[in-house]
């Protein structure tokens, strides 16, 4: 039994600190007043250089305007601001609203309705969410639930192109926010709970036509592995590992969707993105490493060619999708500045990887873990705790973290002023029983019964300020519910995030003191942003509207008498319906 615990410290001692990768921290938008992709920049720092709102005046923030989306599923998107217009993507039916920031109350300019197939609601694991849009070349580009990517003219709201990228009858859907790199729209699929075959696809930004597709599993030619593939670890070297690490042809229904975040380093010319869980959850069905699921790829954006890959969880045991955000930082490691990629991972470790080679430089726990006894830095592999391995027909108890991990999709932010990463995350454990697997296309392929509950301390959420140089938490704020919203941090040294019972909070970025809060109409699982309005003021915007996997109990009207509902999350969230209802709203704040 291994139960590493985190240290909690007071104020951070002075010393060297991390900084964002310089080129990636600015691209693709050099105007600091806007927010044109959900991650703010290619380095994915979600850091705003605006500093009108400070720790000393944030207490005076007032609601500037609001907008009802009219959709009552979970709102996980980041609003975008391009010029003087704000764009909001809703959960299914995936409306795109454009709001005029030059007018009082930001009136609606237009609405684009993509009319996604209603049947896609039947293959959407974990609520009907959408994680946002990206702006490129006069177009707002985003995915609809039914596996289409659409590009909409940012001025008129007219559709420019639409591309079907996947098939709902195979269990595919699309929920992630596309990223545009070198004119290529990068799109990945969801459906790891439906036995899909995962992929990342590049579409031409002007026409929507397919440029390349890189599968997560299968032969090297499908995974776009060629002569330039140089993974760091021996277990990742070899031919057609995406086939040989699976039994038979199980790689064809092996999952590994790409439903999370993508970062890009313009200097190295590499995109980085994670792959999701293998299918089914029951690991007994799929002996082998199940490459390249629950891992990360570095690829060339123009061709998709793989340069390196690494698996966070070879033969993933716990549904630890490897899709969290990659922060591209330049970090002092052993006295030398390294180009690194930092990932607060689902398995509970903050990984620091050399982003040129994929070498794991460090992996330190930021939450309570019983499933592994650390990461072996020689091999890159987790040291699995055998007692916690799920098995067919056996109930394994005390699996920590639970399937959504210490942290799921909800993105962190990083401030170069404090050197801290602001991690929103969970404190959850689970019991799990593996069951018989039956693959039927377009139906769930999970083969597990799960029941989640709070981890040690009984609080279910945390916001941790992580010092990547000192490799420890600088401070931790405990929350009653999983912190399922993103964080944003500003040059005024304020961190913003929302809670599932509807509070939108501002913390001091240095020490975590709560400075201000506002009660929204529904729980918050969205990604806050900060922008400069046409009047020159700094604004903070966030969507409320409870849902997502953690909030499906409210958004889906689920029955809490079944502990296994929503893949077991309902058991951990039985009290959420008592404190919030559903319904999407945009809230925007400014100083008076």
């Amino acid at each position: 039994m291994s139960e590493p615990r985190r240290s909690e410290l007071g104020a951070r001692s002075p010393g060297p600190r991390a900084v964002p990768a310089a080129a990636a921290a600015a691209a693709p938008d050099t105007s600091e007043s806007q927010w044109i992709i959900p991650a703010k920049n290619y380095a994915s720092t979600r850091y705003s250089t605006l500093d009108q709102i400070t720790a000393s005046n944030v207490g005076q923030l007032k609601l500037a305007f609001s907008f009802s989306t009219g959709v009552n599923r979970g709102h996980e998107a980041a609003p975008l601001v391009v010029g003087n217009t704000m764009y909001i993507v809703t959960p299914f039916p995936n409306l795109l609203y454009a709001l005029d920031l030059t007018q009082p109350g930001a009136p609606l300019k237009w609405t684009y309705k993509p009319d996604p197939a209603s049947a896609s609601q039947g293959v959407a694991c974990c609520d009907l969410v959408n994680r946002g849009a990206s702006y490129f070349d006069g177009k707002i580009i985003y995915n609809t639930l039914d596996a289409h990517t659409v590009a909409v003219d940012a001025s008129t709201g007219k559709e420019v192109w639409r591309t079907k990228v996947g098939d709902i009858n195979q269990g595919e859907s699309t929920t992630m926010a596309p990223l545009v790199v070198k004119g290529k729209v990068l799109v990945g699929n969801s459906g790891g709970e439906f036995g899909i075959r995962g992929w990342l696809t590049a579409l031409d930004g002007k026409t929507g036509k397919l440029v390349w597709r890189a599968y997560t599993t299968g032969p090297d030619k499908d995974v776009l592995i060629g002569p330039n593939f140089k993974p760091f670890y021996p277990s990742d070297q070899g031919k057609d590992l995406g086939v040989s690490s699976w039994p038979g042809s199980a790689w064809k229904i092996g999952g590994g969707g790409v439903w999370g975040w993508i970062s890009y380093d313009p200097e190295l010319d590499l995109i980085y993105y994670g792959t999701a869980n293998p299918g089914p959850w029951n690991p007994d069905v799929r002996p082998g490493d199940n490459k390249w699921t629950a891992g990360i790829f570095a690829r060339r954006p123009e061709t998709g060619e793989a340069i390196w890959a690494y698996q966070w969880s070879p033969h993933d045991l716990y549904d630890y999708d490897g899709i969290n955000e990659q922060l591209l930082l330049d970090l002092p490691v052993n006295g030398q500045t390294r180009k690194v990629l930092v990932r607060p991972e689902r398995d509970g470790y903050v990984y620091v990887l050399d982003r040129a080679t994929g070498q794991v430089l460090s992996a330190d726990p930021f939450g309570y873990i019983t499933t592994t006894a650390g990461i072996d830095l020689k091999t890159g592999r987790p040291k699995q705790v055998e007692e916690k391995r799920p098995q067919t027909g056996k109930v394994v108890r005390g699996i920590c973290p639970a399937a959504p991990g210490v942290k799921d999709w909800q993105p962190s932010s990083f401030s170069p002023r404090t050197g801290l990463i602001y991690i929103p995350h969970q404190n959850l454990c689970e019991d799990e029983e593996g069951t018989q697997a039956d693959y039927i296309a377009g139906t769930p392929y999970v083969a597990a019964i799960v029941k989640m509950y709070p981890g040690p301390g009984g609080h279910r959420g945390e916001v941790t300020a992580w010092d990547p140089v000192a490799r420890r938490a600088a401070w931790v704020v405990k929350e009653r519910f999983p912190v399922w919203s993103g964080t944003v941090v500003t040059a005024g040294d304020v961190v913003f995030y929302g809670t599932m019972d509807g509070w939108f909070k501002a913390l001091d970025a240095k020490d975590g003191r709560e400075l201000w809060r506002f009660k929204a109409g529904s729980g918050i699982i969205g990604q806050p942003i900060s922008y400069r309005g046409p009047d020159g003021k700094q604004y903070v915007a966030v969507l409320s509207g409870v849902g997502g996997w953690a909030g499906a109990v409210v958004a889906g009207g689920l029955d809490v008498r079944d502990s296994s509902a929503a893949l077991g999350f309902v058991n951990a969230m039985k009290d959420l319906p008592q404190v919030t209802t559903k319904g999407g709203m945009l809230y925007v704040f400014a100083l008076p």
């Binding site: 209603s118 039927i440 889906g556 029955d559 809490v560 008498r561």
Partner: protein, 189 residues
């Protein structure tokens, strides 16, 4: 000394003699080649409670397994085998709606549930037409009704072989179905 069960139209072949009570006889009968009603005709499946003028009588569609414990336990096995539990879980819902509460979007009568399984529904229920044999669909129908306590206690499943995540169907409170709950697509702006 023994007595015969009453003849049932959907029973094929010789009916064995039963040395049990009439109810027990039916409850435990194992029909492997039952001839069951096929897809109910459209006229038999009422979808709306709104009807101009006096309400006409509902069609009496037999539900062949509401009184058969073996068939309902088969329905429970099939509920997992056909991955219904992947969307509805053990009745609490997730991707699909709950099946253990009182709310029924498309109706709780056996013929409604049969039609839902065979034809699908617009907002994400797949159509299993030509995918699941009719006999098994009826077994699923009976099991689904047991999840909200609509079957007799001595017919509904008792102990589950898997991790305990909900009260057994046998112990569920009998719900009083509310029809015409709002389907998701009518909630879009």
């Amino acid at each position: 000394m023994s007595s015969r069960c009453p003849e049932r139209r959907w029973v094929l072949g010789a009916v064995a003699l039963w040395a049990v009570t009439l109810g027990g006889c039916e409850r435990e009968r194992r029909g492997f080649h039952d001839r069951v009603p096929g897809t109910p005709a459209l006229s038999m499946v009422r979808q709306s409670d709104l009807q101009p003028g006096p309400r006409t009588a509902d069609a009496a569609v037999p539900s062949p397994y509401d009184d058969n414990a073996y068939a309902v336990s088969e329905g429970k096995r099939l509920f997992n085998q056909y991955n219904c539990s992947g969307c509805h879980f053990q009745g609490g819902g997730g991707i699909g709606p709950p099946l253990m509460d009182a709310e029924w979007i498309y109706g709780s009568e056996p013929q409604n549930i049969f039609a839902t399984i065979v034809e699908g529904r617009p907002n994400g229920m797949p159509s299993f037409r030509h995918r699941i044999p009719d006999q098994q669909v009826w077994q699923l129908v009976a099991y689904v009704r047991s999840m909200s306590g609509l079957l007799a206690k001595d017919v509904a499943p008792g102990r589950s072989d898997d991790m305990q995540v909900t009260a057994q169907e046998q112990q569920t409170t009998k719900e009083h179905p509310v029809k015409s709950a709002v389907p998701p697509s009518t909630q879009r702006p």
